[in-house]
Symmetry: C2
Subunit: 320 residues, 2 copies
């Protein structure tokens, strides 16, 4: 469930006018901006952008970028974008930074249709396809960052259009649990087969296969995939499986690492809060509390400050 507290029956024109006022004159009224945009859902935010554009012949996103700064600016910029467009931006930044985590999140946590929407938005924004930019990573200097097989995995995950239904084939789950076990055995990873199964099977089918694996071998496949921490391919495969099988637990860990890191990883923190506030941040908060015996709100309040803090707490469900 969402943590975002949406104020219903608002007027996009009034919101646009109030945002304009908050941006005008000496100094910006960040609190007003948070009060408005921190309580609007994706559709409302798009309507506000449209109204703002019509009223002032100016892109609200650009205006906010010039008015705000630092982590707050970056968070607000991502928040105001349409979710599919935001995914496109996140993916593009991730490719440039050789950060495969975001690529795996988008391709394994999203529904097949959401992933498709992100790919469509990417094409519109960058006039290239997402997999095109990913695959072009094999050339030039950046090639070193990702091994060829890791790249194969990422491209396969991103281009998949998995069957989205619940029907599973129990016999197939059985045989592919064996294939996976053989492929992992003795650390002589047959990565091609693991990549194929993880990147093409439906979520329901993969769950069945992974459960079968656990039943047959009394150990989870993610534990069996634990290898050399420097082995990025194994890490990426484990991450993909975790994203597919239990995304809430996965996000809890991302948040925990982001908060516990010396200096706090604001990028990761913002990403999870912003991309999940309208979806399942409530469950992620519960998982966080269970694991850390402290509420996520409390942890966020402790590690952040100023407008950035106020904005995150608003998205986490605090009423202004």
């Amino acid at each position: 469930m969402a943590t975002l507290i949406v104020h219903e029956n608002t007027s996009p024109v009034e919101d646009a006018e109030a945002l304009r006022k908050a941006c005008q004159g000496w100094g910006t009224d960040e609190k007003a901006i948070i009060r408005i945009l921190g309580h609007r859902n994706a559709t409302q935010r798009q309507l506000i952008r449209q109204a703002y554009e019509e009223l002032y012949q100016e892109d609200l996103v650009k205006r906010l970028e010039s008015e705000l700064s630092g982590d707050f600016e970056r968070a607000m910029y991502r928040w105001i974008l349409d979710p599919a467009d935001r995914d496109a931006v996140l993916a593009n930044v991730a490719i440039k930074k050789s950060d495969y985590r975001v690529i795996i999140e988008i391709s394994c946590i999203h529904s097949p249709e959401e992933l498709l929407a992100a790919r469509r938005a990417y094409r519109i924004r960058y006039k290239r396809s997402l997999e095109e930019d990913l695959a072009a990573h094999t050339t030039g200097d950046i090639r070193k960052a990702w091994s060829w097989l890791l790249l194969q995995l990422l491209v396969a995950l991103v281009t998949a259009y998995r069957y989205g239904g619940d029907e599973i084939n129990a016999r197939l789950a059985n045989s592919e649990a064996d294939i996976l076990h053989d492929a992992i055995k003795d650390k002589a990873f047959n990565h091609e087969e693991i990549i194929r199964i993880v990147s093409t099977r439906s979520k329901a089918q993969l769950m069945a296969t992974i459960n079968r694996y656990k039943d047959d071998h009394d150990i989870s496949i993610t534990k069996n995939l634990l290898g050399d921490p420097a082995d990025e391919l194994s890490s990426a495969l484990r991450m993909a499986i975790r994203c597919i099988t239990d995304s809430e637990k996965y996000y809890e860990k991302v948040l925990r690492n982001a908060i516990n890191k010396a200096g706090t990883d604001e990028d990761a923190l913002s990403r999870v809060v912003i991309t999940r506030a309208e979806k399942d941040l409530k469950e992620i908060k519960e998982a966080y509390y269970k694991r850390n015996s402290v509420t996520l709100d409390h942890a966020v309040a402790k590690e952040t400050s100023g407008d950035y803090k106020a904005f995150l707490l608003t998205l986490l469900g605090k009423e202004n």
Copy 2:
């Protein structure tokens, strides 16, 4: 341009009733079936199917399958399906027969949105994704049919969602023409790079790269890719490039081979006529006449017979 002569302002209910009549009693009135369905576009055919289902609680496709036989039945079955659904069926049959040509046609000739529609139809019909079934080809006995790299190419082509616009990057075309040339040089094919470029770049970008290749080296890339005829990967790459750069010429050759083959390849003949009759069969016919100094209608009439012949000629633009 299409060759199909569409009769406008027809009534789906009247058509369904006439088809019912043609299927009833002793013997089937194939001519009536051709007269109706051979002059209806995809939308009309779907409306007829719906009307038939409502009137008689029976699937028209199933009924026709039981009434007709041989090449005529197979052609009519494919014709009556919605184009995306037909692609799904063609792709499924192709995977089972390890026939990569159809996979390349669907992925390289279709627009990005048409390819997506075919993938969506595949998921609905088979409750698995197209790339899932393709990739599963790596396992078991069928593995021998396609090499691992050939399969990588096919999966990459099928899962691509290329940028569909006209914008190109001339510098990139230049550098990738060099990459392709280096990769092909001395037959020491660096297939990974060729696969990446052919499977991810937009059609416009690929055209620019391939033209640049020709300008720089006075030979087309497809000629340079000519290798051992048993080398299926090179053949598949050549085919993909030809499908992307000049699909009419590609189809002309498919038709020529199908017609000239001892015994005629009815599957290929039907496939081209049926999938292109509503699109560009007119241009394909012109290319055929140019290359063979005989009209396609004449060649088809010579090599086929009976209802099958009558049906193909109708789709080729003959008025009954």
